[in-house]
Symmetry: C2
Subunit: 307 residues, 2 copies
DNA sequence: CTGTTAGCGCTTTCAA
DNA sequence: TTGAAAGCGCTAACAG
């Protein structure tokens, strides 16, 4: 603003007043087209209804907003099969994408990585990919849980599995397999489950009949559904059966009984994802990949077996 | 596609193959500019971390996706004061906006309504506005809760308030005032609270010392925090003190004790919001406004007072 | 330093 | 029926 000459202030004022009078507002769209950037990023999750992902979304959105970015959300729950198409479509609408726990295969992921860049991965890593990734050590987390149950005296466990395509489910299975190797006296059965409270509820009967004394649920949602189902069936938790979760969602400490689980810092995941993304966008070197180690949270849903 | 002449199929094929070879993909941005529409809508909430809003977001996003629309999320929690600016900014990025429980004043809302159109309101109505709205009858909901407590024998209640600017908080207060008018024998105190579990936790001491035999929390989140705080202080719920929530979030049935509350169909709100929005966009007449009536859900956090 | 113009990548209208 | 051109509303590079 050059104030040395006549009229500047007046002109500016008049322009502004006419602008408001005409209700002028710049078109973000045209600006984006000219600039070649939308200042929006996509966040794609397998299930927007899951509190664990909501926590990430909430912190990601807040962090991005501080830098003037908005987030476009997409839920691939409906049809995991065309997750690649969904991801690619939404990527065209914005500058970058944060892929959270994608269900697609490694081959598919690697194949589309270039076209998605800038890309940040949450809950998924692949050495072939240059994309920054934030992940959780599910293998050690589930082993901490199994060890906790072992220490209480449980020798027969049942794992209520998550979605079959889920990489994080595979990691839990691998962790459990390793645990079984280390502890030859333990027996760990597998049972199909899912990722929601309803899946946990549905698993209650089979879990009760499994002969196991403790159940490891895929996540807190499943655990809470299972807890409820078990109680409805007259199975007391933890007296008759111990139950563990995974994630430590806010409500894990408020369930009845409170849930023994491992905590995953989902807010941090969201915030860190944005930091990586911001670096990528501005051409800086993103921070190193982080693998969060879940922390065991012993509450009241686990106890020594009766016998 | 004209198949009558030579080469068409071949040409199309070649074009396609070259297109994929060059990794061509249409620019959604340019398309939007030319078409004058982005196929995206905004969803603005006062707190993205609240499960009640997440449920709406989840269903809104799913419904919109079916029609090829994406949703851009924004959380106005940070600074309720410039909610108008935030809303206006995000509106410029997309075709329409769903305003959920806006904290802004009626005057502000009415003033910007035109510039926001197409607009759908959730949890807020204003007769001056043409915008479709989906709302919840908080007045009757809170009265149902108060009546339930009255029927149990409670005569001294305390209401742990929500955010002061929140219209839904005001409606609850109005409902309570009406209840007090109908039931002269009741005493209802007010206590400042908030909208989160932390706020509920913080209110535990004051609630215990209030002399009331039952507490009505602004929402389930607050109620669950309060529940926990009370128990930590050695106050038994419901024996020493009854507690009620509002919303019936999924976890209300899993808390310890399970929470007496009124249920609000948040998934329906999200889905219906999209239907209204879709009609608005396509120029059809949107369905009539709906006012959902919360349904009392009596669980274990309420009982007759001891004395 | 100010003002003009080309161009972002698409759609659509209008001539050929 | 096909192809060229104008224009969406902005930014950035360019002359003046």
């Amino acid at each position: 603003m050059n104030q040395r000459f006549f009229g500047d202030a007046t002109i500016a004022e008049r322009v502004l007043s006419v602008a408001t009078e005409l209700a002028y507002s710049p078109s973000h769209l045209a600006r984006s087209l000219a600039l070649g950037q939308t200042s929006a990023i996509a966040f794609v999750v397998p299930d927007l209804a899951n509190p664990a992902f909501q926590a990430m979304l909430s912190s990601l959105s807040k962090a991005a907003a501080k830098d003037g970015y908005r987030v476009l959300v997409a839920d691939s729950a409906e049809s995991p099969r065309d997750e690649p198409a969904l991801v690619s479509e939404i990527r065209h609408r914005c500058d970058a994408v944060v892929l959270c726990a994608p269900r697609m295969s490694d081959a598919e992921l690697v194949a589309m990585a270039d076209s998605l860049s800038p890309l940040v991965l949450i809950n998924r890593t692949n050495p072939k990919l240059g994309a920054p990734s934030l992940s959780v050590d599910y293998r050690s987390g589930i082993q901490d849980l199994a060890q906790h149950l072992w220490d209480l005296g449980h020798r027969h466990l049942v794992f209520v599995e998550g979605p079959a395509e889920s990489v994080s489910n595979r990691h839990r299975l691998e962790g459990l397999a390793e645990f079984a190797r280390r502890m030859p006296g333990v027996r760990i059965d597998r049972m199909s489950g899912g990722a929601t409270s309803e899946d946990g509820l549905a698993a209650a009967g089979p879990v009760r009949d499994s002969g196991a004394t403790a159940a490891l649920a895929f996540n807190d949602l499943v655990a809470i559904g299972l807890l409820n189902g078990l109680i409805q069936l007259g199975v007391r938790v933890p007296e008759d059966m111990s139950v563990t979760g995974f994630d430590d969602i806010p409500f894990a400490r408020f369930s009845a009984p409170t849930l023994t689980t491992v905590s995953v810092p989902n807010e941090d995941l969201g915030a860190e994802a944005w930091h990586r993304m911001h670096s990528l966008i501005t051409g800086e070197t993103p921070g190193a990949n982080i693998e969060f180690h879940p922390r065991l949270e012993v509450r009241r849903s686990t106890a020594a077996p009766r016998s």
